[in-house]
């Protein structure tokens, strides 16, 4: 009796899988009528400790989509944004990716904020042949990972070596390395360590903390103050960086030079005690007319200043939209992917072409001066 039931259940499951498979298969060929809106998926952390950073990316993407729609959309079809909240955790990110993949209307994705989340999503998008551009995920592990993945985010391997060069230039020979204990922090820290070994810069102490949790840096900073370090390099996100900067003078690190990785290039950093701190980034708001226009439009729309990642997310969205415009005939996931892979596009952060998933934009150095990011290099 039980066996019979099992058999019945099994056959039902198999049958329904086949039917479902057919339905989705049929859907993708016949679903694209000419005036349906086209959806773009966006998975970012919208709750949790970096919710503000995720929101700024979604704001930037929304701005790009709004501007494209006002200019007539894609061959008369309007664009629509589907957002998902990945909470900055890989498990939520994976389930959102599965949701996007199953939605036939979503033809491209701009995602995600955290490297860990992106690593969890990238295979899901690749298998479904859904093109994805990441504005923020920087880990070297994403280089060349798939034919359907691109990033307007820089590669940590380049950022780490840029940071090493900068310290060498400033005459620093002993440095304290702080990193957040996840894919992003580790990836950047390793790249930085390799460059330091090459340049002969000694890493006198390595300190770590938990992203989204650690607020007390007393032990890390106390250990640093006794280590003889001349500078601190931090690989992490903006809240933790702000707290480290705030607390450094309490534990005898007030005189050390501080260099922050590009995770720190966000307006929120300026609320902390960060005067004189060096920050890496890729977005120079004075660089081009396009950049200035973007900053103005963003400020009028949302009432606050866009940072590095907002600019990168805006570029990601622009590239997706541009690729859709270039598609002649049917706009499908495959045709969009083909156009992105061969694109050469001037964005607000510089010119993009994609090689091995990575973009070719340049790394820049800023210093916090009078509560503003001033470009120094």
């Amino acid at each position: 009796m039980k066996r019979d039931l099992m058999k019945k259940l099994m056959s039902m499951v198999i049958a329904s899988t086949i039917i479902a498979g057919c339905l989705t298969g049929c859907g993708s060929t016949s679903g694209a009528t000419s005036d349906d809106p086209i959806s773009i998926g966006a998975s970012f952390p919208l709750t949790g400790s970096i919710a503000a950073d995720g929101q700024t990316c979604v704001d930037a993407i929304n701005l790009a989509i709004k501007q494209a729609n006002e200019a007539g959309g894609i061959n008369g079809r309007t664009l629509k944004l589907e957002t998902g909240d990945d909470e900055g955790t890989p498990t939520s990110a994976a389930s959102i990716a599965n949701k996007f993949v199953d939605d036939d209307k979503i033809l491209a994705v701009v995602s995600s904020y955290n490297s860990s989340c992106m690593l969890a999503q990238v295979d899901i998008y690749s298998e479904a042949e859904l093109p994805c551009i990441s504005p923020v995920a920087t880990t070297p592990a994403l280089t060349g990972v798939s034919d359907f993945f691109y990033r307007t985010a820089p590669n940590d391997a380049d950022c780490g070596s840029y940071a090493g060069d900068f310290l060498k230039e400033k005459g620093i020979s002993k440095v304290a390395l702080f990193y957040e204990n996840d894919d992003y922090g580790l990836g950047l820290a390793e790249a930085f360590e390799a460059k330091c070994a090459e340049l002969g810069i000694e890493i006198v102490t390595t300190q770590t903390y938990v992203y989204g949790e650690t607020v007390d840096y007393s032990t890390q900073l106390t250990a640093t103050s006794g280590s003889g370090a001349e500078a601190i390099f931090v690989c992490g996100c903006v809240t933790e960086m702000g707290l480290i900067c705030d607390q450094r003078s309490d534990y005898g690190c007030g005189d050390m030079m501080v260099l922050l990785g590009n995770g720190g290039y966000a307006p929120a950093l300026l609320d902390y005690n960060t005067e004189g701190v060096y920050v890496q980034g890729e977005f120079d708001r004075e660089q081009s007319e396009k950049a200035k226009e973007f900053v103005e439009a963003f400020k009028t729309e949302y009432g606050y200043e866009p940072g590095n990642w907002a600019a990168s997310a805006y570029d990601s969205a622009l590239i997706v939209i541009e690729a859709m415009k270039e598609c002649d005939g049917d706009i499908t996931r495959a045709s969009i992917n083909e156009k992105i892979s061969g694109i050469s596009f001037p964005g607000v952060c510089g010119n993009y072409t994609f090689v091995n998933c990575n973009s070719t934009k340049e790394e820049l150095m800023f210093q916090v001066t009078d509560k503003k990011f001033a470009l120094i290099k």
């Binding site: 007390d216 032990t219 890390q220 250990a223 809240t239 534990y251 007030g254 609320d271």
Partner: protein
Amino acid sequence: MFFQHLLNGLIIGGIYAMVALGYSMVYGVLQIVNWAHADVLMFGTFIGMLLATFLHVPVIAMVLLAALFTAILGMAVERVAYRPIKSANRRMAVLVSALGMSTFLQNLAQLVFGSGTRQFKVFDTNAYEIGGMKITGMQILILSVTAVMLLILYIMVYRTKLGIAMRACSVSIDNAKLMGINTNMIISGTFGVGAFMAGVAGILVGNYYNAVYPTMGYLLGMKAFAAAILGGIGSIPGAVFGGFIIGVIESLGAGYISSAYRDAFSFLVMILILIIRPAGLLGAKHIDKV
């Protein structure tokens, strides 16, 4: 360097001690773990931050008002989530209700205040150097406020009628009732006093790190709970002792072994204590399952 780590540990230990007292006192009277304690603390800290930032209330008034609000919230939690179900022998139900209250408060805070980290800095932060050690005004303040609060609590518990009644309830709530003690009022008072201390601790820790956020209670509460267990849950001197030990161990462990395991040290110590001496360092011999 050793003394600097020790000092850092003692300061955060003082905060743990103040929070741990709330767990321990409630457990002493009711034999339940008030999981919402740390979230009540978080709410109080947010109120303090709002009072200081938006209404520009003077510092001392802000601390008192926020701590008072925390106390009222603590009593309200008891009234809503524990009193209706504690009468029968249903400690599992109370435990689940406590966890539910904790989740509810945390999510309510995310909804009302947003999920980002807010800044909170109202105290003097000049750093002083004493015998090669750096100590900031904030740290001195934390140490002295902790000392004063503990002294007041000591006087209250051991020298006042309310304290005698509280201790009577923790020996036997039924007998206390027979002696004419209004036990509901005493339980309410215990929650209020514990939450008041937590409110003060929350404002101190929020200013110490310059960070207030809806999940700030989670780790702080876990560590304080570990401290209460370590000292022997239900014991007031035990909670204070446990708080300082946890603070120092985590600071030294992170400083000399690795900062990656900072949070692990406190819990490792708690596990060891539970294995070796289940009643805690200063706890009663009688063992209860929590």
